[in-house]
Every structure is written in structure tokens, then in C-alpha cells.
Symmetry: C2
Subunit: 192 residues, 2 copies
DNA sequence: TAGGTTTCCTATAGGCTTTAGGCAAATCCC
DNA sequence: GGGATTTGCCTAAAGCCTATAGGAAACCTA
């Protein structure tokens, strides 16, 4: 009987793709085993059950997302960086809804996912460097930025904008405009 | 054997409370039956299985939330209305995390949940009346407001603010300030 | 090529969902 | 009030998912 050549990494990756296709909730260990042409129990040697699989997907997604965000802001600053950064999140969520959903799972405080979360906060602070904020304002700006981007993305993905016109694209542009204006208004001395 | 006196309404309500206690995902039909001191199959006469239960909770939550939002904006306008409205959402989500999670479920286009969603959009537009927006700007403002409030609430509930100082309260105030300023700047003629 | 390790398997148990069919309590109606 | 009907809750059973235990085949290494 030939071996399937599974590894933790490959299992998690396949799980992530399955989650994008059928939704995170239906990306079960059983469904994944079927997809991989393997018996369910075989996967338990590579991932720690259902929650382990989801944490793995979350970890993978957060890393991928941070990579994209980092690339998006490289060589940009101010408004350009903001738009590229926020759009990296939105685009990723639309391309990988299952993975994105995994990033929002509540997770234990000792999980490597927490570490990945810190990287995202650092990237967000990097975007905000272009706005010359007071140190004490930065946390609030990080939270505002995260809230707005995640909120828009989550509502859009959840179909919240399906019953109104126009397409979300224009609202997205307006949202980024508003965010940029707000952050500029928070700057120590408004750029001349 | 005495009857338990179940009704659809009572079952859904008990389900909502269970969801708030143990999380929406663990508010299963089985767990609910145990809680109600009844056999699982008995519930199938009152709710249409697991998804029916979740839709019922979503419907209940959206109605309750709309009631609260309506009460919050009654007799207020402008910034006051905005703050009261947004805080009604945030407070509800913190008091009823399971119910709030249910409101974000994707649902078929023929579900009564869609109807309830429209009521929320109407209430949001009522808040925006105080800002004298261009008609064409209103959709974007509705989406911006919804995104920001939901995003903040979702991140806060998901523990996203747990690893940074200070407490979210201050960030919430700053977020509402920013939202108010943005909407004022969108007005046809800024209030004098 | 023999031993040890890894990988995947079978078997099994328990939980959740859902449907089918049955009995008894509540209700209706004369 | 008593019988028929409806309603409410039950038992039983099948299917899928999670999870663990233990075995056999493939791979690696000396």
C-alpha cells in the first residue's frame, strides 16, 4: 500500500484550500481525509484534531496575510501605504474566505497564532508611521484601522452589501478616504 | 409523563441564552434538549433542526437589537444619535455574544432574517439624517458606519484588543469621534 | 538484510443530526 | 362527560464527525 506522503504542512495547506472552497465550518477532518484520499485516523498523526487543524489554518493565513501586507506597504507611505495595506486584507479575504475566517477564531493565549497577531499589529504601526501620530494616539489608530478594514471586509463577505446599490467598490474608496482624512487630522502637525 | 410546554418561541429563546453562555457553535440542538430536560427529537417539532435554530436565534437577535437601536436614537440627533446608536450595538454584542454572532450568519435570500436586516439599514439611515448627507453619499455612509461599529465590536469580542493597553473604552470614544467628524465633513453644507 | 521508526490502516466508541413511528396528554365537539 | 382528533414528547435507528488504540506495511539505516 503506497504512502500518501502527508506532512503537517501539507495537511494544513490542503485544509486551507478546502476551507476556502466549502467554508471553514465544513472543512472537517473527515472531509479533508476524503479529499486527500486517506483515512480519517491517518490525519491525527499530522494535525491535532479539528481544533488543531483550524489553528493551523489560522496560523498559515495570518502568515500569508502578513506577507502580503508587508509587500503592499514596501516602498509606500502615507495614503498610498494605507490603501495598499487595507486592500491587501480585503483582497486576501475575498480570495481566501475560509482562511480569513480562520484568522478570526478565538485561540488560547499560548498559541503561535498570538505571535502572528503581533506581527500584524507591527505592520499596522508601520503604516501609521506616515501619519506622524502622537505616541499615545497610535494604539487607537491601530484599533480604528483594524476595525474599519475588518468590519468592511466581514460585512462584504457576509453578503451584507448584496441588497443595496452600488457595488462595494465605491464605498471602499470612500472608506479609505475617510480613514486617511481621520488619521491626517490626528497628526501632531497636519502635513502642509 | 407531563409535558414540557415547549413552543417555537420558547425553544429559540432558550437557544439564544444557551448561545450566549457557551457560544453559538456549542449551542447545539442536543445541548439545548439537555438544558430543557427534553429528548432531542422533541425539539424537531418546534425548530427546523440545527440551522433552523440558528436562524431563529438570528431573527430574535436582530429584532432585539433593532428595538434597542430604535430606542437609543429616539429623541436624539447628530452626534448624540450616532453615539447612542453605535453603543447600542456594542453593548448588545457584549451582553449577548452568542446572539450577536448569530446575526452575522449567512442566510438564504428568502429568510425573514433578510427582512430584519432591512430594518437595521433603515435605522442607520435615520441616524444619518442628522448629518444632511447628499442622497448619493448615504449608502456609503451606511456602509461605513456599519463596518466601523461591527468591526470594532467583532475585534473586541474576539479578544483582539486583549494584548494591548489601554482598555478599549478610550479607543471606542476616539472611533466615534472620527466617525462623527467624517460624517460632518460629508454634509452638503457643514453645520455652522 | 534486519531492526527500528514512521506512516497509514482497521476497529471501536461516543456525540450530534435527522427521520420514522408510537403512545399519551391535551383539546375539541357533540 | 366521553369519544375522536390533534398535539407533544417519546423510543429507535441510521448517518456523519471526532477521537483513540493498536496493528501492519513501507521506509531508513547500519
Amino acid at each position: 500500500m503506497p504512502r500518501a506522503g502527508l506532512t503537517s504542512d501539507r495537511v494544513v495547506r490542503a485544509g486551507a484550500e478546502l476551507a476556502d472552497e466549502v467554508g471553514l465550518d465544513d472543512a472537517t477532518v473527515s472531509a479533508l481525509a476524503r479529499q486527500l484520499g486517506v483515512k480519517v485516523a491517518s490525519l491525527y498523526g499530522h494535525v491535532d484534531g479539528a481544533t488543531g487543524l483550524q489553528e493551523g489554518i489560522a496560523r498559515l493565513a495570518l502568515d500569508e496575510l502578513a506577507d502580503r501586507a508587508a509587500e503592499a506597504i514596501a516602498g509606500r507611505s502615507g495614503r498610498d501605504a494605507l490603501v495598499a495595506f487595507a486592500s491587501a486584507y480585503r483582497d486576501y479575504a475575498r480570495q481566501h474566505p475560509g482562511r480569513y475566517a480562520a484568522t478570526r477564531l478565538r485561540v488560547g493565549p499560548d498559541s503561535p497564532v498570538v505571535e502572528a497577531g503581533r506581527r500584524h499589529a507591527d505592520l499596522t504601526r508601520a503604516v501609521l508611521r506616515g501619519y506622524a501620530l502622537e505616541e499615545s494616539d497610535t494604539v487607537h489608530a491601530v484599533r480604528l484601522l483594524g476595525s474599519t478594514v475588518h468590519g468592511f471586509t466581514d460585512l462584504e463577505l457576509g453578503g451584507g452589501f448584496d441588497h443595496s446599490e452600488p457595488a462595494p467598490e465605491e464605498s471602499w474608496a470612500r472608506t479609505l478616504d475617510a480613514l486617511d482624512a481621520t488619521l491626517r487630522s490626528w497628526a501632531i502637525s497636519p502635513p502642509g
